[in-house]
């Protein structure tokens, strides 16, 4: 049954986990992304930043295979995203009703669905892996709890445990920090550091330019096109920010060069020293 419904793709560990070439994406007829090219190395932490509507979410969706590109290509370890089960995608969930009758352990076990295969039930080793995953995200005690009873930050961590149970090598997170208080944000960021140290490649979108600079190796600056890509401090230059954020960049008279303040259309302003 598994062989009929599912053909695993080639997965070449020597090739980069993400290689995007001349990628364009249409969303509801509009061009959400055009001609984006970059590649990531194994174990890198990448933050995708840019104003609202810059195509950050579309980029994650195309890389995870939830959306199809209208032109160009995405290669995951040398092969299209189609059949890969090594990718975990954690969408932004704030607007979803999660009052589903399911326990925390069950949500984490969902990550095993594919690895288990059809007509098979979890074994002891799967349950051990679930316990280990929950422990890794600091939720060892909460396995039997109803998922709906958890706070937003705890739910986010459960989804990370799910990605661990999936044995994902590439984890894509859409705004994992939004709506969380500072301690929860720190907990998630520390967890991401630990994951990347163990060889998982991470890509997140964020509105917080400070987080991008301080906690991530590489930054992708987007505004429907790729404005800049590279080491964080290099990418978030004055000219690149103005290019990406346009009218949302303001200069405050502070210090020698002035302080650049980026105010986005929906969210609180984010600051970056200029």
């Amino acid at each position: 049954m598994d062989q009929i419904l599912f053909r695993p793709p080639q997965h070449d560990d020597t090739l980069p986990p993400i290689q995007v070439e001349n990628l364009s994406v249409r969303y509801n007829g509009d061009l959400a992304l055009s001609d984006v090219t970059f590649r990531l190395e194994r174990g890198q932490r990448v933050a995708v930043v840019g104003p609202n509507g810059a195509g950050k979410t579309s980029l994650l969706k195309v890389i995870s295979g939830v959306m199809r590109p209208s032109a160009g290509s995405v290669r995951i370890y040398g092969h299209g995203p189609g059949g890969h089960v090594c990718i975990a995608y954690l969408p932004q969930r704030s607007q979803v009703d999660w009052a589903f009758p399911v326990t925390v352990s069950e949500v984490v076990m969902m990550g095993r669905t594919r690895k288990l295969g059809y007509l098979r039930w979890p074994r002891r080793s799967d349950r051990d892996l679930i316990r280990w995953s929950l422990q890794r995200v600091g939720m060892a005690e909460l396995g039997p709890r109803r998922f709906a009873e958890l706070s937003g930050g705890q739910q986010q961590r459960v989804f990370l445990a799910q990605a661990l149970a999936q044995e994902a090598e590439l984890i894509l997170l859409d705004e994992p920090l939004s709506g969380l208080d500072l301690p929860s944000q720190e907990a998630i960021l520390d967890l991401l550091d630990a994951l990347s140290a163990s060889g998982v490649t991470l890509m997140i979108t964020t509105h917080d330019l400070n987080v991008a600079v301080e906690r991530f190796d590489q930054v992708v600056l987007l505004n429907r096109r790729l404005i800049a890509y590279g080491p964080a401090r290099q990418v978030l230059s004055r000219s690149a920010l103005i290019k990406a954020y346009g009218a949302h960049v303001h200069r405050l008279p502070d210090g020698e060069e002035g302080l650049l303040v980026v105010t986005d259309t929906c969210c609180e302003g984010e600051e970056v020293e200029g």
Partner: protein
């Protein structure tokens, strides 16, 4: 005691009452299992529409002297596939497209039926069920289809769970989301076919949604939600049949009324999620 015993046993001296009980219990078990997915995935309108769409199939089978289930099955499968296709292939919003098909098919069924001499009686049976008229053949078909549905849900339980909880996860795990969604729709059509004999086209929705909603308020996990729903379904089937026998109420509506009463009690009293509980919490917090 003896009196109560004979009161309880008397209805089932008749074979037709035993067959009715068998059919009602099958419906009582199978409906809440699929109903759990209907409630959690917000498919209630779709379920109601499917039940009405099946009508022309039932009428044609009736006119040709086939078992009603066979005609309903054909119409149900066609309709399930058609609805899936419409929602994918056209620009019309899904609920409007379903509405068009649902009303048209229902009208076709009624029109076919109205040409018959026994129109009024037949219409009542089709709309509100005819448990007392269940034949041995109907019963075996219900056992077969019901068993098939339960087995399929059991076999693909973890895939259906992921699909219902998080369709995006189902996609990134590379589960065949389209195939699984069609399969669930097909199971829904089968369950409706099994239920039409018991409660009729107009009341099928209740057997799908009411016990499952009541158990949703009590259960912590999906299997428990299905099991509690099935228990409510069986209890309602038995209570409904007794009231039908002793007070001469139509059996389909009687079963649905019991289900509704159980739902009302649970919605009011459920610990943590019932109305009374919320009211008490508001009050204690305010004070």
């Amino acid at each position: 005691m003896n009196d109560l015993g004979s009161w309880l046993l008397e209805p089932f001296r008749y074979t037709f009452m035993l067959r009715a009980l068998g059919a009602a219990l099958i419906v009582g078990i199978v409906c809440p299992v699929i109903g759990a997915f209907v409630v959690l995935r917000g498919m209630a309108f779709l379920g109601d529409a499917l039940a009405h769409i099946i009508l022309p199939g039932v009428v044609v089978a009736f006119l040709l002297g086939w078992p009603l289930g066979v005609g309903a099955l054909i119409a149900g499968v066609l309709a399930a596939l058609a609805i899936g296709a419409i929602s994918r292939q056209t620009r019309i919003k899904e609920d409007a497209a379903i509405g068009v098909v649902f009303a048209g098919a229902f009208a076709l069924g009624i029109a076919l039926l109205s040409a018959q001499r026994s129109y009024a009686v037949d219409l009542a049976h089709i709309l509100f069920g005819d448990l007392l008229g269940v034949t041995a053949q109907d019963l075996w078909l219900a056992v077969g289809l019901g068993g098939l549905v339960l087995f399929t849900v059991f076999a693909f339980y973890k895939e259906f769970l992921v699909l219902s909880f998080d369709p995006v996860l189902a996609t990134t795990l590379r589960l065949p989301v389209g195939v699984l969604s069609y399969l669930l729709l097909l199971l829904l059509a089968l369950v409706i076919v099994v239920s039409i004999q018991a409660v009729g086209v107009a009341l099928v929705l209740a057997t799908l949604v009411t016990p499952a909603s009541a158990s949703y308020l009590l259960a912590r996990r999906l299997p428990a939600m299905m099991a509690i729903g099935a228990a409510i379904g069986c209890l309602s089937a038995i209570a409904g049949l007794y009231s039908s026998y002793y007070w001469n109420v139509a059996s389909g509506p009687a079963i649905v009324l019991v289900q509704t009463a159980v739902f009302v009690v649970i919605a009011a009293l459920a610990p943590g999620r019932g109305a009374l509980w919320s009211w008490w919490r508001r009050r204690t917090q305010a004070g």
